[in-house]
Amino acid sequence: MVWTRPIGRIGRIFSLSYLSMTPLLILSPLILLAALGAVWKARPVHAALLLALSLALIAVLYLTIGADFIGLVQFMVYVGAVAVLIVFSLLITRPGDEAEELARRPRSVVTGLVCTLPVLWVLVHVVSRLGNLPAGAVENPVFSVAHVGQVLFTRYAPAVLVVGVLLTAVMIGAALFAREPGKKPQCPSDS
C-alpha cells in the first residue's frame, strides 16, 4: 500500500521520469532572475534578500535532483547564516545612498559587461561542447547520509580535520576582528 512506504527523500516525487526535467526548467530561470535582482538592485538590503532567495532556490534545486543532504545544508548555511550575516553587516555599516550608485551605473555596467561577456562566451562555448558527452545520460544513484559519513571519515578524514581547524581559526579570528579594538565589553550596572 502507498502509505506504508516511507518516503525518505524529498525529491522523490519529482524524480519520476516524466517529472524530472520540469523542476529544473522551472527553477533555473527563477534562480537566474533572483540572482539578476541581487546584481541589479540598487538598494543593498534588497540585493542581499534576493541573494538569499537565489541561494534558497538553488537549495530547492539540489533537493529536486536528489542531493537532499547538500540541499538542506545549503539552505541552513546560506539562508540561515550567510544571508543573515550579510544583512546584519549591511545594517551596521549603513551603506551610502542609492542615487550615487544609480548615477554611476551606466559607466560601471558597460565596463562590467565588457569584462564579463568574453567569460560568458567561453563558458557557453565549453558547455555547448560538453553537452554532447555520452556521460550526460547516466544518473548516479542517490546516496544516504550514512554513506556520506562513511566516506567523510575514511577517505576525506584529513580534509575534515583541515576544515575543522580552519573553522575554529575563523571563529576566533572573526570574533577578534569584529570586537571594538581596545574596548572591553562591559555590563551597564551590575557585574
Binding site: 537566474l32 545544508v73 548555511v77 557557453v124 550526460g136 546516496f143 569584529a178
Partner: protein
C-alpha cells in the same frame, strides 16, 4: 537538452552574474554577494556532474560541495568581520575610498 546541460547553463549564467556584481559594485558587502553567487555556480556544477556524470562511489561531487559550503561560510564570516573593521576605520564600505595605504 539533458538535465546536465540545463544545470551547466544555469551555472554559467550564475557565474557571469556573480562576476558582473563583483566588477560593477562598489560596496564591499555587495561584492561579497557576487562572490557567493560565483561560488554557488561552481557548486551547482559539482552537483550536476555528480548526478549526471560518470559513476562516483566516493561522492566526490557532493562532498566537495559540502566542504565548499563550509569554507564559503567561513569566508563570509571573516570577510564581513574585515569589512566591519574597515568600516570602523574609514566610516565607509565603498571600496573606491580605500585607496590609501596609511588609512
Amino acid at each position: 537538452m539533458t538535465p546536465l546541460t540545463i544545470l551547466l547553463t544555469l551555472s554559467t549564467f550564475l557565474f557571469t552574474l556573480g562576476l558582473l556584481a563583483v566588477l560593477t559594485r562598489r560596496n564591499a558587502i555587495l561584492i561579497l554577494v557576487g562572490i557567493e553567487l560565483m561560488l554557488n555556480a561552481a557548486n551547482v556544477n559539482f552537483i550536476a556532474f555528480w548526478r549526471y556524470g560518470p559513476p562516483d562511489p566516493d561522492l566526490t561531487g557532493p562532498l566537495f560541495v559540502l566542504f565548499s559550503i563550509a569554507i564559503a561560510a567561513a569566508e563570509a564570516a571573516v570577510g564581513l568581520a574585515l569589512i566591519l573593521m574597515v568600516f570602523r576605520h574609514t566610516r565607509s564600505t565603498d571600496l573606491n575610498r580605500l585607496d590609501s595605504l596609511h588609512g
